[in-house]
């Protein structure tokens, strides 16, 4: 989230799309309702299904799964054509005026530079014209036909109401209702925000879904302001923390880049990932990249990391250039036999991964599996799953008992980036220990083996600093947290102030690239004060801005900033666009309010002033985003499995940059009569994710005891299915049996002149427990993912539903 | 209370067993019911160790009451449930002389109309009590509105039965001296019999079916 939960109440219009906030983030939804009650916030829910969220919104607009870009593209078209954009903001704070090179073009669903064989774009034409000084050329009048603004206008002019309505199945009236309501926030004193979740990420165009909305937010001047932003309602307790620490193949803690093979030296690596700008007004904060990365290496290897050995850079694993190693790739490799051992920590991929049958088969090919959890789950016990003969499974399995959250100390980062410290309330039962302790035990044991026996590339293991244990030999989260924050490794004088060796680094601005500081994750620098006070434990309730920022409650990264890009809430002179919700104000010599995104003067000051989007090389928000795999502008492509055989907008049916898996278990069936219904998957309030924690809890299980498929009344009638009957839902990859919930809340869509039915299933069930609860809906989902993130397309695929006659 | 020679047999052993089963279960039911019906009578639960036990006592006594009532009806319905017109009407008109002085109250059979009314009340409301009581015992098997009516009927039954019961008790003991042995030993004095059920006595004697204590054979054999 750019903003945070409490801030939602300050919005004038909240678009809830790709999320079911009331069901999956009930307490977040509270803040939206608070806004509705106190500030007249308009709540709009756009979702294929009428949910508990819809029930409390001003209105609900049903939309066919996988057509969000068409829907939002239509909104961009409306905004641009009706002059609803916030001009001052667009001209100054976005790359709308930037001139794109002449060769850039878009034709029939493809941008320039597409390599059909590789299914990849080369992005040479996705760049700006630069002047002699190397600064991008701009046209502040936004009239140059090659400026981003005009290109965007042209691109989205194809998203007419008629076209969008025909693709999405949303009536033109409903489209206009949402467009006008939401576009009304394109004024300085109005704020609109988007609350999305897995409903947007779980598509083969997931990243572009979000980007399209980010573009709308930039056009309406909604980024960086109170009540605005792009807000991902993240769904797991510490998914923000785990993402910040990058348990992700492509990144290292703090979103640093994972080295790739072609960058064989530290120098090359740093050069590649340290962006440069020739514009003196762009802060380009990532120019500090080397400081972050070297401090990171120092946190791993301490005094073993020296300038001479490139701080250990060469020891670190390198990815092959352009090769993804995501979860789906992992299981694909496992299925093919490459992966022999797996750690599965607090996760249940046998239920939660797409094409679960393939995942389960892949698990059988492992030599060993180490799971850590507080309950057993379908992954740990895969060897006794349905259709598996344990006598033929060679895998050695370990199931390590973990402490539950209230049985250990540590921090958890919420979606609003608040890092909150929690305390140990009780001893864990039996032999259970925190996961952190397990990993220290494991690495220490591995270290001992390498020390004793030697082995390949032993340095990173032997040199890894792993002393995060307390006097009793138990895991010390506090010690680890201090290392993550970082220390001065020698006495250092910064701006005349002396920091002693061993003091905590108070902010990432003080990290050094010479090995004199360490920081396990630069984003977290500042979570401790120099004197070692843990700011994550703060429980202060003071609210100086009156906007619910609570700067002294816990600590938020970066540097306790509560709303990102907040300098964009003021005009170029530092005057707040909305004086009623004054997030930040330039007093002539300093910013007052939230922790500003850099203390520089506002950009009107040509000498000292800086642009607001400090993490972008150009200093502005990217309406034109060349970083994306499938194009600098978003484009509607049909889901990989779609009811349509032709994309109504172009002859490019699917995302052109998709990575498709091709084993015998990766079957798909698009626009097929065998699987005629669109299916989407989701969670429910009562369960959490794969249900691996919640299905073991009687209070929760009692409320949602078994798997179900929600079917609209019309389709149910056609198929002769009655409410509460058992049905079989099948896709090209398998089938599951579950209870039919016949509902008024799913209605058929009229798409390209034909009726398209959609059904939906919760993803919270698995065969292990309860025994009669039904199996995972991910047996049905395809292993195909977004081209940028490889997030699987759980939210739109094709199925059939049929009645089953069961004996008894 | 050993019967003396010449006393007249008015009830046999089976009748007496039935009577006492009915009477005792009825008393227990009424007392235990009372203990549950009125908070001020909750103390009646003390001897059995609490209301919960009182409920059990009530419910299971009910199970004794059911066959008792069944046999009581079987045994007495001919004698006690059919009014003898017009004598009984006359008797009712003067309330059998119980309430005000009546020179010669109309003669009655074995049971006077008061007793008959009591029997009918017990029989009818007893059945109602049984049915309503059983339904109340298992209320979850029936609709709430049905059970509510049962509660009402059960209360109504108590309202009817208790006064009759008490009057019966009073008249069967101190109110009409000499009555009590009728249901204890089965024998009453001839004098009592002449006063209380002259018509019956006459009929019995006429039929020769009168059994007199101490006499070898029933008189009937002589005719």
């Amino acid at each position: 989230m750019t903003n945070h939960w409490i801030d939602l109440q300050h919005s004038d219009c909240i678009l809830i799309m790709g999320s079911n906030a009331a069901e999956h983030h009930p307490i977040a939804f509270k803040w939206m309702l608070r806004g509705k009650e106190k500030n007249g916030t308009k709540l709009i829910h756009v979702d294929p299904r009428f949910t508990r969220t819809s029930a409390r919104c001003d209105y609900h607009v049903p939309l066919r799964s996988g057509t969000d870009i068409a829907f939002l593209g239509g909104m961009i078209n409306y905004i641009l054509n009706s002059d609803k954009y916030f001009k001052d903001y667009v001209v100054n704070y976005t790359n709308a005026p930037f001139i794109v090179v002449k060769d850039f073009d878009f034709n029939d669903g493809l941008f320039t530079g597409y390599d059909k064989a590789e299914k990849k774009y080369s992005k040479e034409t996705w760049v700006f014209e630069k002047d002699a000084a190397g600064i991008p050329k701009k046209d502040p009048s936004l009239t140059d036909p090659n400026c981003v603004f005009q290109l965007m206008k042209k691109h989205y002019s194809r998203y007419t109401l008629e076209k969008v309505s025909s693709i999405t199945g949303v009536s033109r009236e409903d489209l206009m209702k949402v467009y006008t309501d939401y576009a009304s926030t394109g004024a300085g004193d109005r704020a609109g925000t988007i609350c999305y979740a897995l409903g947007w990420t779980h598509h083969s165009t997931g990243t572009q879904n979000i980007r399209t909305m980010a573009m709308i937010q930039l056009l309406l001047g909604n980024i960086g302001i109170c009540g605005g932003g792009v807000n991902a309602l993240r769904g797991e307790p510490n998914v923000q923390g785990s993402t910040d620490h990058c348990i992700l193949y492509g990144n290292l803690p703090g979103y640093l880049k994972m080295p790739v093979a072609s960058l064989d030296t530290l120098e090359k690596y740093l050069k590649k990932y340290t962006p440069v700008t020739n514009d003196p007004q762009s802060p380009n904060y990532y120019r500090n990249y080397p400081k972050f990365y070297i401090s990171f290496l120092k946190s791993l290897f301490d005094d073993k990391a020296t300038p001479e050995n490139e701080f250990g850079y060469s020891w670190m694993p390198k990815l092959d250039d352009g090769t993804p190693y995501s979860l789906m790739h992992l299981f694909d490799a496992m299925y093919k036999g490459t992966v022999k051992g797996l750690f599965s920590v607090g996760t249940d991929p046998a239920v939660s991964s797409p094409n679960a049958n393939k995942v389960r088969k892949a698990l059988e090919k492992l030599d060993w599996l180490v799971s850590a959890n507080i309950f057993d789950n379908e992954t740990c016990s895969f060897w006794k799953g349905p259709g598996v003969d344990p006598g033929k499974v060679k895998t050695e399995c370990f199931l390590l008992p973990a402490s539950a959250t209230m049985e250990k100390e540590g921090s958890q980062t919420n979606s609003g980036r608040w890092v909150q410290w929690k305390y140990k309330a009780a001893r864990a039962p039996g032999d259970a220990i925190p996961v952190g302790e397990m990993f220290i035990k494991i690495i220490d044991a591995v270290k001992a083996l390498y020390a004793g026996e030697g082995g390949i590339n032993p340095e990173p293991i032997l040199n890894f600093k792993s002393d995060y244990i307390n006097r009793n030999g138990a895991f010390s989260a506090l010690k680890a947290a201090r290392q993550i924050n970082g220390f001065f490794l020698k006495d250092t004088i910064i701006d005349g102030k002396t920091f002693r060796k061993g003091q905590q680094v108070p902010t990432f601005g003080m990290l050094q690239d010479d090995g004199s500081t360490c920081s396990g994750n630069w984003l977290m620098a500042g979570s401790f004060t120099t004197d070692g006070e843990n700011r994550m434990t703060a429980r202060g309730k003071d609210d100086p801005t009156g906007l619910g920022l609570y700067p002294n409650w816990a600590w938020a990264w970066p540097v306790n900033r509560r709303i990102l890009y907040n300098r964009a809430s003021c005009d170029i002179n530092g005057r707040p666009y909305n004086p009623k919700r004054k997030l930040l104000e330039w007093t002539g010599h300093k910013w007052v309010g939230d922790v500003p995104d850099g203390g520089w003067a506002p950009m009107a000051d040509r000498e000292n002033g800086k642009y607001p989007f400090i993490m972008k090389a150009d200093g502005v928000g990217s309406l034109f985003g060349p970083g994306m795999a499938e194009g600098p502008f978003s484009e509607h492509y049909e889901p990989f499995e779609s009811p349509l055989s032709k994309n109504p907008l172009s002859s490019q049916l699917n995302n052109p940059a998709l990575h498709v898996f091709e084993t015998d278990m990766d079957k798909t069936a698009s626009a097929s009569d065998t699987f005629p219904y669109v299916c989407t998957t989701y969670s429910c309030t009562e369960h959490w994710c794969s249900g691996a924690l919640t299905r073991w809890q009687a209070w929760l299980l009692e409320m949602q005891p078994e798997a179900y498929v929600e079917i609209g009344e019309k389709l149910a009638h056609e198929k002769g299915i009655k409410n509460g009957e058992r049905v079989k839902v099948s896709s090209a990859r398998g089938f599951v049996k579950c209870v039919a919930m016949v509902t008024k809340r799913f209605r058929p869509f009229l798409v390209e002149g034909k009726t398209v039915h959609q059904v939906g299933m919760p993803f919270n069930y698995g065969w292990l427990f309860p025994e009669d609860g039904g199996d995972s809906c991910n047996i049905l989902t395809p292993s195909v993912g977004d081209a940028n993130t490889h997030c699987p397309e759980y939210k739109a695929f094709m199925v059939n539903v049929s009645k089953i006659q069961e004996a008894g | 209370m050993i019967p003396k020679k010449g006393m007249i047999k008015v009830s046999d052993t089976f009748e007496r067993i039935v009577h006492w089963c009915l009477a005792i279960s009825c008393i227990v039911l009424m007392l235990s019911g009372l203990g549950m019906m009125f908070h001020s009578f909750n103390f009646l639960a003390i001897p059995v160790g609490g209301l919960k036990n009182l409920k059990l006592v009530h419910n299971f006594t009910g199970l004794i009451f059911i066959p008792s009532l069944f046999f009581a009806i079987l045994v007495w319905w001919k004698e006690a449930a059919i009014f003898d017109v017009p004598d009984d009407i006359e008797w009712i008109k003067c309330a059998g002389g119980y309430l005000w002085h009546v020179e010669n109250p109309p003669e009655t059979g074995k049971y006077n109309p008061g007793q008959k009314a009591f029997f009918i009340a017990v029989a009818v409301f007893g059945i109602i009590m049984i049915i309503s009581g059983l339904i109340m015992w298992f209320p979850l098997e029936f609709s709430a509105s049905t059970v509510r009516v049962m509660f009402f009927l059960h209360a109504l039954g108590f309202f009817v039965i208790f006064p009759f019961f008490f009057i019966h008790l009073y008249l069967g003991t101190i109110g009409v001296p000499g009555s009590f042995p009728a249901i204890m030993t089965g024998y009453v004095t001839r004098a009592w019999c002449e006063k209380q059920c002259p018509k019956w006595l006459r009929e019995m004697e006429e039929n020769g079916t009168l059994e007199v204590f101490g006499e070898e054979k029933p008189a009937a054999e002589h005719h």
Binding site: L33 | M37, F166, Y170, G175
Partner: protein, 267 residues
Amino acid sequence: MNKNELVKLIDTTKCTACRGCQVACKQWNEMPGLKTRNWGSYQNPPELGWNTWTLVRFQEYVDSKGILKWLFRKEGCMHCTDAACVKVCPSNALYRTEFGTIGLHASLCIGCKECITACPFDVPKYNPHTDTILKCDLCYDRLKGGELPACVKSCPTGALSIGKKEVMIENAYTRAKELGGDANVYGDTFVGGTHVLYVLGEKPEVYENLPARPAVPLTIVAWKDWFKPLSLIAAGGVLIGSFFHYITHGPKDTGGNSDQTCKGGGE
């Protein structure tokens, strides 16, 4: 008027059916979750039970304008002023607390189930394991401790609130007025006024399992209010009557006590 009287207000128009209340209730009162099946509804357990003192009901409803609504209603004890359950309870297990709510001394309950049939809202439920009924007591223990009832505390959206009776009634009417349309206040005008009020978005008739005009059942009024005193009067009447009969009229002379020998049969 009892100045301690509390009213819990359930604003159904703010409820998101997150069911925090349903679980918070079980957590605090240590009631187990039981085996259920999916019966084609989110509403589960399907009805209130001995282990489920409060239940969020789900109902799909298309209004007269054709607009689909999903109605959520938290069901539970209404804490009537004129409480049928208290009226019928033989053992004082159900009682009126100083807050005007209906408490339950489960240890006094004899499991007679009279309250189950008496309640116009079908609230008390029988626990066969303990042979007692159980129902919401509005967290009497928490109220005594100065805490909010578990359900109210857990409610994220403000759909549940509790406070002084007159304030809550006023809040309810203000909210209903603000909502307009069919919105109405439910609870203050019958059974002596309930201590749980609803703000309903639709007419009461629309909601499943909600009596539009609840009342203490007539049979119970007849029994408890008329027959109870009447039967006491009747019982007392015959006792006293018999006594006076005995002392004024005297025992009937049947010669029963005379020593004269009975005559032989037949004269």
